[in-house]
Symmetry: D2
Subunit: 279 residues, 4 copies
Amino acid sequence: YGKNTIKFLRLHKEGKKQFVKEVEVCAHLRLTSPQEYLEGNNSLVIPTDTIKNIVLVLAKKNGISSLEQFAIDICNHFMTTFCQVAYVKAYVQEVPWQRLHEDGVPHIHSFICVPDGIRFCEAEQCRNGPLIVFAGIKDLKLMKTTQSGFEGFYKNEHTTLPERHDRILCGEFFCKWSYGECKDFDFNCIWKKIRECILEAFAGPPDCGEYSPSYQKTVNCIQMFVLSRVPQVQVIEVVLNNTFYNVVDMKNLGLTNDKEVLVPVETPYGSCACTLGRK
Amino acid sequence: YGKNTIKFLRLHKEGKKQFVKEVEVCAHLRLTSPQEYLEGNNSLVIPTDTIKNIVLVLAKKNGISSLEQFAIDICNHFMTTFCQVAYVKAYVQEVPWQRLHEDGVPHIHSFICVPDGIRFCEAEQCRNGPLIVFAGIKDLKLMKTTQSGFEGFYKNEHTTLPERHDRILCGEFFCKWSYGECKDFDFNCIWKKIRECILEAFAGPPDCGEYSPSYQKTVNCIQMFVLSRVPQVQVIEVVLNNTFYNVVDMKNLGLTNDKEVLVPVETPYGSCACTLGRK
Amino acid sequence: YGKNTIKFLRLHKEGKKQFVKEVEVCAHLRLTSPQEYLEGNNSLVIPTDTIKNIVLVLAKKNGISSLEQFAIDICNHFMTTFCQVAYVKAYVQEVPWQRLHEDGVPHIHSFICVPDGIRFCEAEQCRNGPLIVFAGIKDLKLMKTTQSGFEGFYKNEHTTLPERHDRILCGEFFCKWSYGECKDFDFNCIWKKIRECILEAFAGPPDCGEYSPSYQKTVNCIQMFVLSRVPQVQVIEVVLNNTFYNVVDMKNLGLTNDKEVLVPVETPYGSCACTLGRK
Amino acid sequence: YGKNTIKFLRLHKEGKKQFVKEVEVCAHLRLTSPQEYLEGNNSLVIPTDTIKNIVLVLAKKNGISSLEQFAIDICNHFMTTFCQVAYVKAYVQEVPWQRLHEDGVPHIHSFICVPDGIRFCEAEQCRNGPLIVFAGIKDLKLMKTTQSGFEGFYKNEHTTLPERHDRILCGEFFCKWSYGECKDFDFNCIWKKIRECILEAFAGPPDCGEYSPSYQKTVNCIQMFVLSRVPQVQVIEVVLNNTFYNVVDMKNLGLTNDKEVLVPVETPYGSCACTLGRK
């Protein structure tokens, strides 16, 4: 199969107020026949350049009301226009432009890039199959400076890690969920709600937090919480790439370091991933 | 001379509330004698490992009330402790952790990384010279979707660029300013004010903006505005790495594209830089 | 499941001659019980730190005769030592250090990093299943400046690409093949042979090359050639991330550009991927 | 001032044999008047787009016999064509394409990218001043697995580093030298000779090497050796970004690690830089 990536800006105005969406679109196609590979016969091949034109034309005609709707539009276009397409997947990712505010007043045409978690989505369809929609957030970096530990793990002669009941929990989250065969969802609103759920499940109550006995359990809490709060989500996958921090031993420098100065441990870094669905 | 980079986390608590600063420190030293280079005589060399220990001990003892104060502390320590140091520069850069909020309530120990412009500073000193402090912001990405043009430029037989009076202005800013021989400044407060000035000068009034006739003029406006509003700033340098966007020509696709769909032009990209001081 | 990454150097000497292998190892484990996720019960969890220790101890004890043998050693260790492990995968990637030569004479202890295609491998095993070994090369950048075209493709109203019979073929290759349940293979020797096959199939005969009617066909040629020459390979996957180059139109600059000056087209870039096995 | 970056490919043929140069060119200009910044008056501004056209036209007309000659051509063009240019600098960097060989036979049109040190150069000129040419190599990663130590350094209460007489010396080199006001040099030939000198000075004799008492001394040896062997070089700057490797302590794992397994220390990493000229 083939894929390609297109990056572009979609502007629109309402009166004098300007709106902007900058996206990166990656379209994957698989054709019904492998003749392009086996025989070098290009007669069914849809060139990258044509795919780019289609994506830009769809953006021009339909706008981008939500990333998900745009991905659905792309899938629909390829499935209905090209009978040689056996499978199509459209991945859409957003550049996180946010409207500037001056003393709380929104600016009509100025924006700042705020990459505190990148929104993306995917729509995919096999010929004669349902259109499935996924959405997600990636590059979301979170930290808890307390209320995290790791104890009671398996031990043998290769174990050197001490048990810790007050460590730093820090990492980069990748979360991706499926809406199943979705109907008329308000994708923008649901996405914002899920983002809030992830942050809330990670952090716990603002006044005291919630103890995390492991990265794995935190991953599971996020999944359980999203599934309980957002009925549109069918399955949720969470990957957490942790950064470990070690409390610097300052004894030989004549000081007691009471978890005040820590250094990141760059290798090994760990990662834990889990996919959870409804029964 | 030599330099090295240390990354670490400094935590502190006030009651149950946790505070976090994650910084990357780069210390440059030049010694009074080049004998380490010429003769392989290491007797005056301060190993990287020792420099790391000193930075961590200073963080432990003094905390990091501001990046600038911490950079000053490092310079002072090296100048007063090691008579073989002829010059010291300390660069300190912040990982932009922000406290999480749930429904407007700040969380006592959870943070999110929001890289919408990275704060950094530098302090430098030659033996017997003044201690000079710089501060700055980098990786600040801004966009204006209108109120920008480029006309009346020099033309000859190699000119192919059309004049434009309504283009996108987009780029990544690097701003660095000098406080001179600073006294007891509230560095955190001044930095926030300068950041606001940069955004305001870039965007213009929220209801209408301000026309930019060129990247160069916008750079100059930012500098003039900061110098006029913040008396502590002596000199300000601004570098703007532009991203150009071209309106996609859709005529051969049978459509009129009224600055609705644009693609970034990755090469050539331009950059303009200017340094401006007080008379 | 969880994974983690460890980077280290393994040295050994034969007389005064030094040998070096620098590798990045990533171990994935899945446990038989999800209790760590669901209940926060860590009693079966093997900490990242323990995994790191095991990998380093295996490197110390066994050395790294080939990446593949080392990956097999890791899988075997985890499967035989920990009954709670349901699945293990070991990915091993090499830093491409090559011995320095001075006037053709190899240096006994000096090396240069030459990243012209990175060697990697994977071994994986489910409990009670066979141990499967993969190997591959990635980040291999190749270019043909002629003998490549793209004609006869599907056209409709969104087509703007002209047919071309003499374009640049350039891209980054990722190739990964399976050895099946391998026995006592000379992995180093086979890997080198496959790399040569890839280059030969890409380039064609040195005096004239071989015409490529599409990226897809070139991908297929590489696969067919490797399968025909290297009986140990069961299945081979090739992904090609193309860079397109456009001949610069210099008509409005008064010049005829006969495919002498070309610029890379950064978006859209395309990619084609194919997996081919034996019947 | 302003600068911009252009990336392109220059092909030429001799009979059926194809030659390729892919370069990234960055041109910096400073104008005689700051009116573009202060007044938004663009009448002297040479747009990025025009600069790109000029660079491409020069590549088309002159070819790229050497990076240095091409940089000189660019400087000459801007100085003689535009009287408003006060200063011009042209930086040219090469994508390291190498001709493919099959069984020792060079291929007529196929190339592989081999980034084992990137060649670059700079030419700069002020109006009425001389044209100065620099050349260099960057991203050159070298390692010695023995014959390196670090002893006899300055010690105080913050010292924790032990003395070592047999460590790994590993790092990334950046070397840049000046040819002064150069005449008709064979830049390609000189560059290759300097690269060999750097490798030889780093490694020492192939059968035994040469002991390095510090990174600083190795930097100096390289500089001295290049200056002694290549009379065209006036001044040479070398920056070495070291990677430290620690021997893993395996005592608590019941093993003796005789410098067989080492891990890279990612922070702090050090860097040492020195500039050396002729008397």
